[in-house]
Symmetry: C2
Subunit: 653 residues, 2 copies
């Protein structure tokens, strides 16, 4: 109440309603060592109701989590440079397991964490060495329950029988616009039973005994995740109790005083932490966690002796590092005019990598067959109930949950990817954005990356998606031109530790370029490079292209070259990587004096003007696509070597 009041902004009502739940869970159940918040086998606590951030900040402060929230941070809730932003952000303070606020995301992340736990358990536990066995707890509210991403994630969790997962549903009957009766009257318990969950009920959020009993029941439940519905009173004890007004604004000084009185609390004290409270947390949560962690560390030492190889893997996982030789089987593709879709070459590359990194797992939203992302080597297997060491996840036609679940897996440091068509990046956009904001190396594989997918038509042809993804701060977008650029792209991706990547791949074939004729694909490591034309000669005109349009552009290059025009082609698989290069490198690739510049991409032209300027040309689309064979489409939309060549001639005449 005090923090929200002082910030004059925030959400007091839910932290007040859920304090008993937070207290009970942390004090009596959470296996967590505040002195070592990164202990790999800790239980995870996810606050899916991110707006109730003060609940989490309070718990982190009272538990004395090392390096985390201080009272000073709480006094400066929602101010620049403090660890207490409006909604919790994972990289801001230890103990914040994920970034939440956009509703439903935390719930879906928690499914990913539960998957990671099951995977780690199956992969690393050995007889007498139970290294991994932890639970994932998440709290969500009416908003989380209404969001589609939650439905997708809950259905998946039920299917996977994740009995290490426990959700609390804060059933307070209140949303911003009023009582939930105006729009949310479904039977949540029945819905979760339909998903295959165990459903429990606490009819009074202040009843600590009932909360205790329900969590105990969860811990004993096998073969299914658990939902505990907790009937609560938003803004409990205040005159705004059970009202929307308690949700998202300060209560007001007078209301706070009266509420403190009701709680039996000194009315005029602010930010009061009575003696003994923090000590109480240390005695229960702290000492339990420390004991468990110590025992675990001893176990780990013995494990290290018995299983040095596995231990080495665990160390790498924790540091988000790659094993030696991870790239030893990377293929080099021979020049081949025969068209090979980049989704195909990517599938080969991924498999070559995955076989050497045992904690690299992932799956598809029911498009593994089309996206070519199945891990096919021996022992890869499927991740299914009771078979949690499988490396191929089946997300179903649930793109949004796939994005948020793979975020959760990556938060637990198992490296995960998910694949779908580029058009369906739209379905999972909120999760892609959060991956970038959370600084986690999730890998979003997007095939069928342009109108080149052909007959499926405009509903399936991405136009604005690349631009939209490139606009996300921190996300590395890659669109390789051929099989060897695919290899370079995967090298970039695998080395990322704190940034997610989006890899755009073609459905259609594109030739494997002859690198004796054109410059080496190694240049792709710089994001953009001169692929054709002498890099030492200032050209008359620069043609820049990405992905499947590079081959087309090289055909235009040959035409122009034959006409005696000094032309350069720049392949630009990743604008973000290119922007990280030195000014001198960038000026070398795109000499500032050359204003005759043309971009070629079978996608919206928006964004390319950054490189082509006011005088350049942008060849691409400004409308939706159409349903037809791809050759007809490229002709129809003017994406042909002759059109590109003509634009170049027009520009330099």
């Amino acid at each position: 109440m005090d923090a929200v009041q002082k910030a004059n902004s925030g959400h007091p009502g839910t932290p007040m309603a859920l304090a008993p739940l937070g207290y009970t869970l942390w004090q009596n159940f959470l296996n967590y060592d505040p002195q070592d918040p990164n202990w790999p086998n800790r239980d995870r606590f996810v606050l899916s109701v991110g707006h109730a951030s003060m609940l989490l900040y309070s718990l982190l402060f009272l538990s004395g989590v090392k390096g985390s929230i201080t009272l000073e941070d709480i006094r400066n809730f929602r101010q620049l440079k403090y660890k207490t932003p409006g909604h919790p952000e994972n990289h801001v303070a230890p103990g914040i397991e994920t970034t939440t606020g956009p509703l439903g995301q935390g719930f879906a992340n928690s499914v990913g964490m539960a998957i990671a736990e099951r995977y780690l358990e199956q992969k690393f536990n050995r007889p007498d060495f139970e290294l991994f066995r932890h639970n994932v707890y998440a709290i969500g509210g009416d908003g989380c329950m209404m969001e589609g991403v939650t439905s997708e994630a809950a259905s998946l969790a039920g299917h996977l029988k994740l009995s290490n997962l426990c959700w609390f549903y804060d059933n307070n009957q209140i949303t911003i616009d009023g009582n939930t009766k105006i729009t949310f009257t479904e039977d949540v318990a029945l819905r979760f039973k339909a998903y295959g969950w165990s459903v429990l009920h606490v009819d009074d959020a202040n009843d600590i005994n009932k909360i205790n009993r329900c969590i105990e029941t969860f811990q004993k439940t096998v073969g299914m995740p658990t939902l505990i519905i907790v009937d609560s009173h938003i803004g409990w004890g205040s005159s705004k109790q059970d009202k929307s007004a308690a949700h998202g604004e300060p209560l007001g000084e007078e209301v706070i005083k009266a509420t403190k009185k009701f709680y039996g609390w000194p009315e005029n004290e602010k930010f009061l932490v009575p003696n003994g409270v923090r000590e109480n947390f240390t005695e229960k949560l702290g000492s339990r966690g420390q004991k468990l962690n110590r025992a675990w560390k001893e176990l780990y030492s013995a494990y290290k002796e018995n299983h040095p190889g596995l231990t080495r893997e665990l160390e790498l996982i924790e540091k988000r590092e790659l094993p030696e030789g991870w790239d030893k089987d990377l293929p080099e593709f021979k020049a081949d005019p025969k068209a090979l879709p980049t989704r195909e070459s990517s599938g080969l590359v991924m498999n070559a990598i995955a076989e050497n990194i045992s904690w690299f797992i992932g799956g598809s939203a029911d498009l593994a067959v089309s996206a070519k992302t199945t891990l096919k080597f021996e022992g890869a297997g499927s991740f299914e109930p009771g078979q949690y060491d499988g490396r191929n996840l089946h997300f179903g036609i649930r793109e949004h949950a796939m994005g948020a679940v793979t975020n959760g897996i990556n938060l637990s440091k198992v490296r995960a990817y998910g694949s779908t068509f580029l058009i369906f990046s739209d379905y999972q956009k909120p999760a892609v954005r959060l991956a970038a904001l959370m600084e986690i190396p999730n890998i979003f594989i997007y095939t069928h990356d342009s109108i080149g997918l052909g007959e499926d038509g405009p509903t399936h042809q991405p136009i604005e998606q690349l631009a939209g993804l490139r606009a996300i701060p921190g996300l590395i977008v890659l669109r390789p031109a051929d099989a060897n650029e695919v290899v370079e792209s995967w090298k970039i991706i695998m080395r990322l530790q704190h940034q997610p990547a989006a890899l755009a791949l073609s459905r259609q074939g594109t030739p494997t370029l002859d690198r004796t004729k054109y410059h080496s694909a190694k240049g792709a490591a710089h994001g953009a490079y001169v692929i054709a034309g002498d890099p030492e000669i200032i050209p008359d005109v620069i043609l820049m292209a990405t992905g499947s349009e590079v081959a087309l552009t090289l055909e235009a290059y040959e035409i122009l070259k034959s006409e005696g025009i000094k032309v350069r082609v720049v392949s630009m698989p990743s604008l973000e990587i290119f922007e990280k290069q030195s000014q001198s490198y960038r000026d070398k690739v795109l000499p500032p004096g050359v204003l005759a510049r043309i971009s070629v991409e079978a996608s919206t032209t928006l964004g390319w003007q950054k490189y082509t300027g006011l005088k350049g040309r942008n060849i691409g689309l400004t409308t939706f696509g159409a349903s037809a064979p791809l050759k007809d489409l490229y002709e129809h939309f003017g994406l042909t070597p002759s059109k590109i060549a003509q634009a170049a001639r027009d520009l330099i005449k």
Copy 2:
């Protein structure tokens, strides 16, 4: 089978499995006049499994829908310039009620159509004049069932007790990656019961009697929507029956022959339509529909005499036109340095418009209070079960469904809007895109449109959303600078007939600009206009800005002007509208000779280089925001008049 084979691409299995269902529904139940596919009281048929487009094309062809699919179109399935794209598109041929393919969207659209029906019924029906009373049927599959947008829409439909809505779930147990057992094992029937639906079951998709009985039961059911689960066999009768291979690729000539044999069909005939088949459709569906339509037209004539005012409204609705005087109450805002958020002025403007257009309805995803989009005038009311003439819809925290449901409402020509925060446009992106592709005038209202929302922090601060929306072909994005630009924006929006709009509004206050000092807001009608500086004088430097940053930029203008610099400020509320202006107008606003150009927008800078070129500057963000009071944020991110002025000086020195 033949069409997919000839196109060498497409989805044969589901049309084969569902032919009996399509036949039964259309022949025996659908109230539809093929000679008048736009008859307002027609039943709606939505194919949410858009990939099964051949089912719909077959039905449209066999029914002889006027101006719709011909056999020639079917022979040219998935070819340029024919009416048979890979997935059905509403504007391509009469009888295609909505554009589907991205899964779940059609189901959610159908909820909007059912809402529109209820609204029209309540608003226009009078004693003895039942003008509206029709049903909405939709077919979806496993994909639709797994997508979150379906869950959101189904929960809403159950809440609203839309008994005019009937969904068929094509339960074929097969998805692209294999059997649904690998990922989808929830109890769908139980889940829909939890949403408050009536659930029926047809255990054999070929059992026409059972299908008949279930549809009859639906028609008698009151107080809830109906889900009919139809167990089917994908690729029925072929050797690929019940296999993924029947889903998304041609069956192959040999398989087709064998299947035709199994069907008792001439093996070697292609595109065969036996004599009597089309006649049979005309006799049953056609004559029923024609009779109903004729009776309706008679009723309508009498209604016209008795209720001329209401009839006039109906005529306008059908033509997507506005009533005379719709804009008579539009406010004009007086200059006021006191800050007024554009969400506030927009709320006033919307109400002034809505009171004069009775078919303008909408709501919010639980942010009506924050977005200021509640219609407050007398009689506006809430749209709730049994109270279907209310004009305020409560979508709950279901942004995606809101987008798709308002698409459905607009498809039935009731003009609908939905509001949420700009950041949550991400949650509904697939529906926004489809609104543009479908060429319908949905209105997406997005408040809290920049880091200016302050303390809620980066999870809630849009950065890349404006760029992403501007990249959607056909969508009109507007970001007005002050209350009077809000008025102009709404004028643009309301006049749109075939394009959706996204309106970005500020949480924070921005002054109502003094238009005696600066140029009139009427210029906003051109998308961009010179707001400050003599339009006849070529300036030294151009500052362009949108929304809440225009006021900041005008402060920079005053500083620069006082230093004797010839400076022009261009307010650019809509880049899309600006792009539609003549080259001479655009050159007048942005003289090509002036290369000292600066853009100012509290958002990603991506895209602005189109106007600022290689030599200009872009003031905005390239990172995520932060949680703090807005003044601290604008200072922190360099969005201040002095920084803007300094950039201008740097550029022209």
